[in-house]
């Protein structure tokens, strides 16, 4: 805990330990953020720009590609993050049972996808989900579908494919956080609840979930940021297509800056949309977490 007062030497040590990190953060984070804020009010192509006031913001509202990228990104966020968090929580709860056999095996298997490089798994998904590919064959053999699904060509299924891919890649990662936190909960609490006749569902909902609230909040915010920045998967599996159905904000910024004639001001404006979304959503998640605690 905080000592009453640090000596002069300790004050100097304190700053010395954190100084390298602070200098780097200043150069590679604070400066770029301020620069992009200033830039988002500039208009022009390449390195020739001039002050344009709110021109870029007006352009945003009239840009159908931006609106589409925004809607796509929000769809990915709203559908994918809850599914993944719930799956990770359920898997962690099941694996936290000490009487379960093969726990280590299951845990390793479910965590394994995090080990793959984004490129490896993008390639794998692209080839597995080809129209004549192995996934359609399996689903048809199991009588789940009658005709092959056009995963990569159909705007709806392309979105589903991206959601499946991200969920596959990141569920195990989140699960490890929950597993670690669950192992810190005293087992006797569960025993007492069991003796009092609480069902498995009640033990999960009234013990595990409240105890894990800080970790759930942390992982939800991290996943929200990750999904709002979605780039690698869409760029490698679908290239944003078909007809922009999987275009995300990050991919659009990339296209604006590095593919088309660079429009730094406008792409800075789009990136501030992401910053604002992250800020609003993180704040909302904090508020929701706090409300629940007040109820309990």
């Amino acid at each position: 805990m905080a000592q009453a007062r640090l000596s002069r030497g300790e004050q100097i040590s304190g700053w010395a330990f954190i100084a390298p990190a602070l200098v780097l953060l200043g150069i590679f984070m604070i400066y770029p953020i301020l620069w992009s804020l200033w830039m988002s009010f500039q208009v022009g192509k390449g390195m020739n720009f001039s002050f344009g006031g709110v021109t870029n913001i007006v352009r945003l509202t009239k840009d159908p590609v931006f609106i589409r990228a925004l809607v796509n990104t929000l769809i990915f966020l709203v559908v994918q993050v809850p599914i993944m968090i719930v799956l990770a929580l359920l898997a962690a709860t099941a694996l936290n049972d000490p009487t379960l056999r093969f726990r280590g095996l299951f845990r390793t298997a479910i965590f394994l996808p995090c080990v793959t490089s984004l490129i490896a798994y993008s390639t794998l998904f692209k080839s597995m989900f080809a129209t004549d590919g192995v996934v359609n064959k399996m689903l048809m053999a199991l009588w789940i579908i009658r005709e092959p699904i056009h995963w990569l060509q159909d705007p709806f299924w392309a979105k589903v494919l991206i959601i499946l891919a991200i969920t596959w890649r990141w569920t195990g990662y989140n699960m490890v956080f929950y597993l670690a936190a669950l192992q810190n909960i005293d087992r006797s609490i569960y025993e007492a609840a069991r003796i009092d006749g609480a069902s498995a569902w009640h033990r999960f909902w009234y013990i595990s979930v409240p105890m894990l609230k800080p970790v759930i909040l942390f992982t939800t915010i991290i996943s929200t940021i990750g999904t709002l920045q979605l780039f690698d998967e869409v760029n490698n599996i679908t290239q944003g297509g078909p007809s922009d159905a999987t275009l995300t904000l990050s991919l659009y910024i990339y296209n604006l800056t590095f593919k088309f004639m660079p429009s730094f001001g406008y792409s800075a404006t789009v990136s501030w949309v992401i910053v604002l979304l992250v800020a609003v959503l993180s704040f909302a998640q904090f508020i929701i977490a706090r409300d629940r605690r007040a109820d309990a």
């Binding site: 780097l24 992009s36 490089s117 800056t257």
Partner: protein, 271 residues
């Protein structure tokens, strides 16, 4: 066992097995695909073929494998070492030398955690190109080494570092840096192991930033080159899947070597 308990236990095993199958199947697919012709991969042939050596030969003929894997390894190792050094020093400093002002700095830093990389990409590109750093390894590595996430992680883990150890070391006449190097570092091995896994994987797999920064072919990483193979009009999946096996091996090996410590390290950080 009561019937209901038995049924729920059976359901748990069934669902976990399904999850394990879904998680592992793509790895199996990667191995199978590397032994088959590209035309067999896209029609979902799920049995091993005899094309492994042909695919391998074409892979090594198409890409300069030693070069791209050396580039990847160099960037990943340098990035990991620097990130761990800078970020663990800071995490330790924030936790061990608390002052009101530094707490404010820490709080501000956590706010920065919510700034997505996409927002920094454009100004970083302009900044680095004005210093003629675009197309260098430094430009790929430098922006990531003060990682707020890893600083936060080390600060959390440092809470479990026994202060008696530090007091004893002070009595023995060690200065603060020596305490960090000779007492803290060896004590926190598990914490570092978990951090190595996270940071090494992130660096090894990094795609977007190297894609922007590394425009010269001789600096391109395995991730970039293999990704470029997939975007051709008729991708040769046998060759590509062989390449992805090679690209996945290092992270797989590191994970299995450090797995036990990884779980311990995560436990320490969440406490």
């Amino acid at each position: 066992m009561r019937p209901l308990a038995f049924a729920s236990r059976a359901l748990t095993y069934a669902l976990l097995s399904l999850a394990a199958f879904v998680s592992v199947f793509p790895f199996f697919w990667m191995l199978v695909g590397a032994t088959n012709l590209s035309s067999d991969v896209v029609i979902g042939k799920a049995s091993f073929g005899d094309q492994l050596f042909a695919n391998a030969a074409r892979f090594f003929a198409t890409v300069d494998a030693p070069r791209i894997f050396w580039n990847s390894a160099f960037i990943a190792v340098v990035g990991t070492v620097l990130t761990l050094a800078i970020s663990s020093l800071a995490g330790y400093g924030f936790e061990m030398f608390r002052s009101r002002f530094r707490e404010r700095v820490f709080g501000l830093m956590l706010l920065l955690l919510s700034i997505p990389f996409a927002a920094l990409m454009v100004p970083l590109f302009v900044l680095l190109s004005s210093y003629k750093l675009v197309g260098t390894v430094a430009a790929v590595v430098l922006p990531g080494i003060a990682s707020i996430f890893i600083i936060f992680y080390f600060r959390q883990a440092t809470k479990a570092f026994p202060s008696e150890l530090r007091d004893a070391a002070r009595v023995d006449g060690l200065n603060e840096l020596q305490i960090f190097l000779y007492i803290y570092l060896p004590t926190m091995r598990s914490t570092y192991a978990a951090a190595i896994i996270i940071v090494f994987m992130a660096n090894w797999n990094n795609y977007l930033w190297p894609l922007i920064m590394l425009n010269k072919p001789e600096l391109k990483t395995a991730t970039l080159v293999i990704s470029a193979l997939t975007s051709s009009y008729t991708p040769d999946y046998g060759v590509i899947l062989f390449g992805t096996i090679l690209a996945t091996l290092p992270t797989l090996v590191i994970f299995f070597l450090l797995q036990r410590r990884f779980v311990e390290g995560m436990l320490g950080a969440v406490k």
